[in-house]
């Protein structure tokens, strides 16, 4: 079993013996329990009981959209994302977060970790976002990372481009999409190596 973080480092010395034992017990339960499982995007949405319960709770098959309609929708989303989702590195590393989505590395970059804070929509309809990442691999020249919104787990709308250095990288981004059209907490980071511009290599996804 993973022993978890060092309890003494977490708690320090300025705690009474009685309180220390109480905290240690909570610490051991956290380690014993292991991480909570990741919910699929579909499960993030709360079922609506009145209609959902007596009726069929079986999965709907994904509808097949016509290729042309789908291509136009994707192209529009990409264009809007490109126009609106420019990222800027900023020394300002705080945002009035309404929601935080923790991200963890996929098998392509297992050690990577990140979080995305979603701010309040401004009067122009833009959602400010603050993305923090660490342990993402530095990419060769010409490579970059993209932040995408997903639908049914697939990256659909680009929210910005960034690169990483050593340590923690913090970037401010913005998107003007209607978030109802995407998975709840559906942000992923994709790796774009030189000459590869499709969002297929997801390196960070929601916990």
């Amino acid at each position: 079993m993973n022993r978890g973080p060092d309890f003494e480092e977490l708690v320090g010395k300025e705690v009474s013996a009685e309180e220390r034992e109480r905290l240690r017990a909570a610490h051991e339960l956290l380690v014993q329990a292991g991480p909570p499982p990741e919910l699929s995007p579909g499960m993030e949405a709360v079922p609506w009981p009145e209609e959902a319960l007596p009726a069929t709770w079986r999965r709907r098959r994904p509808t097949q959209r016509r290729p042309l309609v789908r291509a136009v929708a994707l192209a529009s989303a990409a264009l809007v994302g490109f126009l609106i989702g420019h990222s800027t590195t900023s020394p300002t590393t705080s945002i009035e977060a309404q929601r935080t989505v923790n991200l963890h590395g996929t098998k392509l970059d297992r050690d990577a970790i990140g979080s995305l804070e979603l701010g309040k929509k401004d009067s122009n309809g833009n959602w400010p976002m603050l993305l923090r990442v660490t342990r993402l691999k530095q990419l060769p020249e010409g490579g970059y990372y993209d932040l995408y919104l997903t639908r049914h787990g697939k990256p659909i709308a680009k929210c910005g481009v960034f690169n990483v250095g050593r340590g923690v990288t913090v970037v401010r981004l913005s998107a003007s999409y209607d978030l109802n059209h995407f998975d709840r907490n559906g942000w992923v980071v994709t790796r774009q190596l030189p000459g590869h511009h499709k969002p297929t290599d997801i390196v960070l996804k929601p916990v």
Binding site: A26, W48, E50, Q98
Partner: protein, 206 residues
């Protein structure tokens, strides 16, 4: 925040719900599980939503552990919440708190789901002698259930530092760098979060 949630793939067509408010869910934070169950018995959909937010991950974790298959576990989560909606009126507060009642409902739904497996019951691998037996596994499942539920009850900033430290593998300094907050704040939030978890898990700590 005024976001509404996407309609899940599992929902029947046309069952879109009214936009939900995270603020409203925040208000439910101090309401006990038992009170929420009683409100669900009166068909209060807000209470149902709050229970779902509290228990979706613990139920899913329990189902995954028992069934070992994400799709079946997702089905078991749906069946659990359907059962909660149907049978909330059978909850008797004088016979115990809400969490054990919910655990029993979830366990029954998961067992039922396990029985409907279409796979032929092949011979499973023999367990080594030091593998946990059914009693130990059941106890471990209940502990995970309670801990995951308790994590849902922490304030966001405390839960964040605890999850990064315990499940993200970051040291306290790395958590501070990562969140761009002072190390002292990380330590304060971690201690406060552990203390709050100890309160929430009081029954398990005895």
């Amino acid at each position: 925040m005024g976001l509404s949630y996407a309609v899940p793939a599992a929902m029947p067509h046309g069952a879109r719900r009214e936009p939900s408010s995270d603020d409203a869910l925040e208000i439910e934070r101090d309401v006990s599980d038992g009170e929420l169950i009683r409100r669900v018995a009166r068909k209060d959909s807000k209470a149902f939503e709050a229970l779902y937010r509290r228990y979706a991950r613990p139920v899913f974790g329990l189902a995954l552990r028992r069934l070992g298959d994400r799709m079946k576990a997702e089905d078991a989560v749906q069946e659990t919440f359907a059962a909660i909606w149907r049978s909330a009126r059978t909850y008797a507060p004088d016979r115990g708190a809400g969490a054990p009642w919910l655990y029993a409902v979830a366990r029954n739904a998961i067992v039922d789901r396990g029985r409907t497996r279409s796979d032929p019951p092949g011979e499973g691998p023999e367990l080594p002698a030091d593998e946990p037996g059914p009693d130990e596994r059941a106890e471990a499942s209940y502990v995970s259930w309670r801990v995951h539920r308790a994590l849902e009850g922490l304030p966001h900033n405390e839960r964040n530092v605890i999850e990064l430290a315990y499940y993200g593998g970051l040291s306290q300094s790395e958590v501070a760098d990562f969140l761009s907050i002072p190390l002292g704040t990380v330590k304060t939030r971690t201690r406060a979060g552990l203390g709050r978890l100890a309160d929430l898990l009081e029954g398990e700590l005895r």
